[in-house]
Each structure stands twice: as structure tokens, then as C-alpha cells.
Amino acid sequence: MLRIPCPCCGPRDHDEFRYGGDASVPRPAHDDPDPEAWYRAVFIRPNPRGPHREFWQHVSGCRQWLVVERNTSDHTIGSVQFARKSPA
């Protein structure tokens, strides 16, 4: 099983979390009129085989959004931070 060490609740089964996708994709400023920037933010993904920074929300626990660095080929977790303290 995949366990995520929640910085608030400790190690928990990933079933308690909701996945939120790639956390490394920069979001354009809200008033950015450039369609290319929005196209890239909405659709283009690096999709690495290896370390991947991604959002998870601990919906069945503290309900915090986290940024987890997880290896997509073997699921080892490198780091977990609160999303709001993490640089975008």
C-alpha cells in the first residue's frame, strides 16, 4: 500500500487522500490574456518517470492540501509539505 506521511496526522493510507495532480505546473496570473500560457497550464504535463511533485488533499484527515514528492516508478515518497507553504 502507498502510505503518505501527513505532516499533520502522521503516516496514513493513501485512500484517505484525494489526488490533485501535478504541483509543478505554474498557473498563469488570473488576468493573463495569453492563451498559450493557459493552454500549457491546463494541458501540458512533464509526466516524468521518476520523482514527481503532486498535490494530495487529506480529505479523511486534517483536510490540508499537501505537496508530495513521489517517485512514479516505485512510489517511494521523497518529501511532504503543506501546499500553502510550498513555493509554486
Binding site: L2, D15, Y19, E36, V42, F43, R45, N47, R49
Partner: protein
């Protein structure tokens, strides 16, 4: 290529089946080919076959990093159907269905295509309305579709939950009678044998590690068996499209996710159709060996591991028992995972790429197996002519930038929710 027939079966039987020739050769790679197809799964092998068969391009190699058919063509739940709603999908998948109907004869290889019919259950009046919409689109496109009442469904598949306590009572269903299943390994083997018969080199245990460029143009591939020159390169490596695409400098709207499939212990014949559950994500058929073969949703997070997690095992088992309470005591024999290219609109990508000399076939999400023949046919056309086949005109990479996405599921641009 020795032709398979009832007579050859009889004659080889007389000699104890010791003299069957190899189904395909195991050549060493030549220094260069007109076309190199990366990926020896169903789509890559079908592409090589149609390049030779339809376009006369026989100086072709298919490079497979593992063994032939060891990826998703051997990992799916073998379902073939053409019940698509959106323009672009409807015609493409029906063309594929027609190729399935002639495949065993065309390849001289029995792919055990069984048109047993697919039933998708509806669990509300509104859902049945939406199925009627779909059925009308299909029939107007010349595809068979029927709407079934609850009584019809009960007559065809009495083992579903028709009790008063069913959590989601069955209101009716949509049936495509020509849908069914095929022996997935045989599809890979049949295309491999037929392509080899046309002179295509199928090279296994040959991993592509990079691309050779002449200026901007790709003119070959670096592999674990050395450099191989290529007039054109076609990628058919769904699951790992991003990994290879990156090496070629492509930026892609794809995430890799793991999808699990399951098989139970063998049972007496019970499930005569392909049945899909309209109230959850669950689809089941019964194999010739008697096992119930079924699947559900993605695990739901980016993954290149060909194994899944237990949470989905539970979810799929819950859906299975909600639809078919009679199998609650049946034991699972195996479950396995395959890596899916998930696109943001759940539709595939077949097109020339911005990189000169490189052609892309990927993004198959859940739907690659049923598309195998049409994908090969249209990808071969795209490679041979340099222009997309009309049937895959809607599957270009540019659709995401231009806003013409084909979002059949209406799930929004989240790959893991498709």
C-alpha cells in the same frame, strides 16, 4: 509464410505437431529502414502490417523493448465495441469494428473474435434517455444499437441484481450486438506473423534510448542493439509516450496512470455478453476458460508501475457485487496493472508531430485494444503519406491548443478523472 488451414492442422497432426514453422523470424536489426515503428504492441504491429499491406512499404522494423505483446495488448480486458457518441470517435471506432469482423481472415490467424454483444445498464430514466441519444447517433451512423427495457435486460442477463433492495435499480440498457471480445494475445501474434510475412523485421528486447537527428529532422534511433537509421519513425508506445516524446523534444498533454484488471477462478458459463455497469465503473466478460475478466477505474495518481493498489481492488469488487450479487463468494485469481497514456479529453492522438520525421500514436486511455486495427490502418496511412488519415483528423495534437477537444466522458481536463 506457411498458411494455416484445416488441412495444415490435419497434416501437422499426423507428424505429431513437430514440424510447425516459426510464426515469425527473430532477425538482427539492419543498419537502416524506411520506417521504424517503436513499440511492438498491437498498434505498432498493426501499423507495420498495414504499411506493407496497404502502402507497399516493406522495409520496416518494429522495435520492442521487452517481449512481443508484453505490454497493454496483453493486459487489457479484451473488449471490442463501437458505441461512441462524438463525431470523430463514432466513425473511427466503427471502422475499427469492421476491421475486427474481417481480422481472422485477413491475418490468417484466429483471433477468436466473439461478437457476443455488450450491454450497458441504465439506472435512471435520465440515464436511459442519454443512452437513447447515443443509440440514435449510432444508428444514424450505420452502427447497430438497441435500447432494452428492464424486462428485456432481465431476460438476457437474469443474474444481475433485479431485487427490490438493489442500491441502483436497473431501468434498462443499451445493447450493441456486434460488440464483443477477442483473444488479445492472438491479435498481437496475428499481426506480428502477417507483418513478418510481408518482410517486416520484428526485433524484440531492443529498447529505444534516444533519437538520431540530422539538423532538425529525426533520421534514426539509438537502441540497446545499436544505432538504427530510419526514413521515418513512428511512436506506438502508449503508456510511455511521454518518456520517449521527451527524448524527441515533444511536450505532450499526457499523464501515465495505472489501470488494473482482474480475473476470477473459472466458473461454468454464466456471463454470455460483455456487461458494463452504468451506475459505477465496472465491466465484465467471461473468458473461454471460465474466468470472469473485469476492470474498473484508474488507481488515480500518476504511475509507471505496472501494478496497482488495494483501494481499487476493493472499489471494483464493491461495484461487481452491487451489479452481480451472485459472484460475492467467487475468489479472485489474479489482478494486474497496465500503464495508460491518459489524455485530458480521454481521446487518442494519431498525427504527424512538430518534429520532422516523427509520427505519434498514443494517448489511448482505456480504449486502445478495440482501436488496434483502425489505429494501425490510419497510423500507417499517416506515416506513408505524411498527412493524417481522414478518420483520425480529429485526433491531432493541436486540438488542445485550438479547443476542439473530444471529451466523450465530459470529465474536464483532468487525466486521472477520465
Amino acid at each position: 509464410m506457411a498458411r494455416y488451414s484445416a488441412l495444415s492442422l490435419f497434416l501437422n497432426g499426423l507428424s505429431g505437431n513437430r514440424n510447425w514453422p516459426r510464426a515469425w523470424r527473430a532477425p538482427e536489426p539492419k543498419p537502416s529502414y524506411d520506417v521504424v515503428i517503436v513499440g511492438g504492441g498491437g498498434h505498432g504491429l498493426a501499423t507495420a502490417f498495414y504499411l506493407a499491406e496497404n502502402h507497399g512499404i516493406r522495409n520496416v522494423a518494429v522495435l520492442e523493448k521487452g517481449y512481443l505483446g508484453g505490454g497493454n495488448v496483453g493486459r487489457n480486458t479484451t473488449i471490442v465495441r463501437s458505441n461512441y457518441l462524438l463525431d470523430g470517435n463514432t466513425q473511427f471506432y466503427e471502422f475499427s469494428m469492421k476491421l475486427w469482423e474481417g481480422m481472422s481472415a485477413a491475418l490468417n490467424f484466429n483471433v477468436m473474435f466473439s461478437q457476443r454483444g455488450q450491454i450497458v445498464t441504465a439506472h435512471s430514466a435520465d440515464q436511459l434517455d442519454s443512452f437513447s441519444h447515443r443509440a440514435n447517433v449510432m444508428r444514424l451512423s450505420g452502427i447497430d444499437a438497441e435500447i432494452l427495457t428492464r424486462d428485456d435486460v432481465r431476460r438476457l442477463v437474469p443474474y444481475l441484481d433485479f431485487s427490490e433492495t438493489a442500491r441502483f435499480p436497473i431501468h434498462g440498457a443499451i445493447l450493441q450486438g456486434r460488440a464483443g471480445t477477442a483473444r488479445h494475445d492472438a491479435v498481437a501474434w496475428g499481426y506480428a506473423r502477417a507483418a513478418d510475412g510481408h518482410g517486416v523485421d520484428i526485433i524484440q528486447n531492443c529498447e529505444v534510448t534516444g533519437f538520431v537527428r540530422d539538423g532538425e529532422r529525426i533520421v534514426g534511433v539509438e537502441t540497446s542493439k545499436g544505432r538504427i537509421g530510419a526514413g521515418k519513425v513512428g511512436l506506438a508506445v502508449a503508456g510511455h509516450t511521454s518518456v520517449l516524446g521527451h527524448k524527441a523534444g515533444l511536450e505532450l498533454p499526457i499523464e501515465s496512470h495505472v489501470l488494473q484488471a482482474f480475473v476470477t477462478e473459472p466458473l461454468k458459463p454464466m456471463v454470455d455478453h460483455v456487461v458494463a455497469y452504468g451506475a459505477d465503473h465496472f465491466y465484465v466478460s467471461q473468458s473461454d476458460k471460465g474466468g470472469l475478466v473485469f476492470g474498473g477505474s484508474l488507481d488515480g495518481y500518476n504511475s509507471y508501475a505496472q501494478r496497482g493498489n488495494l483501494g481499487i481492488v476493493r472499489e471494483v469488487a464493491e461495484a461487481a457485487v452491487a451489479l452481480m450479487p451472485c459472484i460475492s463468494r467467487v475468489r479472485l485469481l489474479r489482478h494486474w496493472g497496465g500503464v495508460m497514456d491518459m489524455t485530458p479529453d480521454a481521446s487518442p492522438i494519431i498525427c504527424p508531430t512538430p518534429v520532422d520525421g516523427l509520427y505519434l500514436n498514443g494517448g489511448w486511455c482505456y480504449g486502445g485494444f478495440k482501436a488496434t486495427p483502425a489505429s494501425g490502418w490510419c497510423f500507417a496511412h499517416t506515416i506513408a503519406t505524411g498527412k493524417p488519415h481522414p478518420l483520425v483528423a480529429a485526433y491531432g495534437l493541436d486540438r488542445f491548443r485550438s479547443g476542439r477537444t473530444l471529451d466523450e466522458a465530459g470529465a474536464g481536463p483532468f487525466a486521472w478523472l477520465q
